[in-house]
Symmetry: C2
Subunit: 397 residues, 2 copies
Amino acid sequence: MLTSDKTGYIIKSMKAEIIGIGTELLLGDVVNSNAAYLSQKLAGLGIDVYYHSTVGDNPTRLASSVKTALSRSDLVITTGGLGPTVDDITAQTLQPYTKKNTLILKNNVGTAPGLFTKLPDKKFLIALPGPPRELKPMFEKYAIPLLKKVSGAKSIIKSRVIKITGLSEPKVNKKVKSILKLKPPVTVGIYVKLGEVKLKITAKAASEKNALKLIAPVEKDIKKRLGDYIFGIDDQTLEGAVGELLARHKKTLAVAESCTGGLIANRITDVPGSSRYFKMGIVAYDNGIKTKFLLDVGGEQCSPLQKYGAVSRQVAIKMAQGIRKLANSDIGLSTTGIAGPAGKTKTKPVGLVFIALSTPKQTICKKYHFAGARTSVKYRTSQAALDLLRKSVQGNA
Amino acid sequence: MLTSDKTGYIIKSMKAEIIGIGTELLLGDVVNSNAAYLSQKLAGLGIDVYYHSTVGDNPTRLASSVKTALSRSDLVITTGGLGPTVDDITAQTLQPYTKKNTLILKNNVGTAPGLFTKLPDKKFLIALPGPPRELKPMFEKYAIPLLKKVSGAKSIIKSRVIKITGLSEPKVNKKVKSILKLKPPVTVGIYVKLGEVKLKITAKAASEKNALKLIAPVEKDIKKRLGDYIFGIDDQTLEGAVGELLARHKKTLAVAESCTGGLIANRITDVPGSSRYFKMGIVAYDNGIKTKFLLDVGGEQCSPLQKYGAVSRQVAIKMAQGIRKLANSDIGLSTTGIAGPAGKTKTKPVGLVFIALSTPKQTICKKYHFAGARTSVKYRTSQAALDLLRKSVQGNA
């Protein structure tokens, strides 16, 4: 690909191609995540990936695929088939290429080493093992330094991911419509996952510093348009962002979960160091348990459960207040809802959820209606609850 | 591929190839899970997949890839690039092929329809949309019935997955070594994921009935060799298997989690109908909370926490007994351990975990040492705890 860098010079990037090897891939027993991983890494090195392909454990078809790949690309990376069993045909099939100018790449995790071969016409062939936990350290430790030397890349690619929750993809799209139309050297893509929208800013430039200069104004513009809907950058998770805020503000948390069934506590405790701010969780799946531990706290004799039903604003509020008192924490967070598929009534459909948050100063409760199957409703509820918590600690709830 | 069916006839299977289209795949922003999904479905139809490939949103390279694919395969399926934006180049690029003998495949979920084209020489071209939630229903509802008519497959492939926990992959391998060497028409593959080993039995036969006949004796043999290490078949999960057992034996459960932080309660409540047997969970992340709710139950004045530390056999046992009494359930299950990365001491390394289970008849406690990062330790602990519970309800713990 010919691109122009900031200085106006024309740069020729290395063209790469990735070949996955293994009948288990062609049977669909294993998803080829190596191709995505290597593509991301190569993009970061300024190497353009033009093709992925997958072949089975068949020497003839592998040889033909490698030949085609080398005819049209500067760098060919194979993954898989390097082990010691009869199925593992890669080393033997590549032998006509690898018998000279080949470096062995050490495997610090498994047994099969990798290969890095310099071919005529400034072409390169790399063979990596299939298991991701072997491939990744080998590629990062041994192949990347070699590729940096030989790629001659005059440009690199740098990305930054802006993470958003509480706003649907069409609504995010509408707010950043003009930004999504940006053309190289800086572009923005939109990606969706359950309860989350991501905007990925990608810049191609002569150096990381220049790439970051291109990214900064776009990021600023996105932040201006989306404000508090943004909860994190790059690898930051919502539970991680919430944890940082709780630790920074020295606030402790306890959660009382009904429909989320422990998912919120689980996500919070996925974060290393969460014991600093997380005191306890109660999963009150049984109405008797809700009453005994959460609704009768403080000696009140009311029974919101009987009066309004377990899935109600009143019960959510009592649960949040109850868990806060029970755990003696700064914040109490609660969820109650109908995750489905059973449990709906005439007035309370599957997906109806109440989330409440209690602090010494205030108690708030929000009503939601989430779409999807049981685990989707659970996840969307946990996402909304953590986001309510995030905004509360920030002072914006 | 030429194979012989039970009647001795020689069958020629249809050869297929899948082309993924989209620059997001080549950048590694999206993992190509469609190729694995379609491969599994095609295998089930008796259609052999020989190649996967991926190209960007580039008409020249797409046209060239389709031409190559059609020259060597009977069936070519493209995924992606069918939408209305400028990036979506598939419909236009395929036009030379699709201008006649083409059926439109309806998209009941999104906007872009699919295409099913009959080409000369008994070749076929199918274009499907990229988003899995659009691709899957379209393929299953419209493409599979058409493929069944035209594939002429005289054989089908049927698989059955045997799921194992509590035994490492090398140990499973050793127990079924001879079975893993089986040759077609029935073969067995071994797959590993965190805390679980899977054996997949695959049979190729003239009918599903015949395939099941080939699978049955192999399954019986595997069950004989692995016995109670097997927790489920096909899509069954460990939490689902445990749930069925609890419901069948009419037992109720409560869990007290420290190092798993709510993961066990979350997995249990992922199962629809779990409110029948799951009463409550407590996530006691704070030592004060452990003492207040679980260790002082019954008026005892002992303090195993101060004497032995939170991560100890004594505390695990007290937690299991405590939660059972607190929730008035038939079974109490507890975990305490060091998930890491912090928290280790000289005598208590990261990964040290105690799991206890209490019933009116007995209390048992097991000690484990799990490898891996924080979330791996959490998951492995939840897997071992659910498995201990499974064996206890079955009467084998």
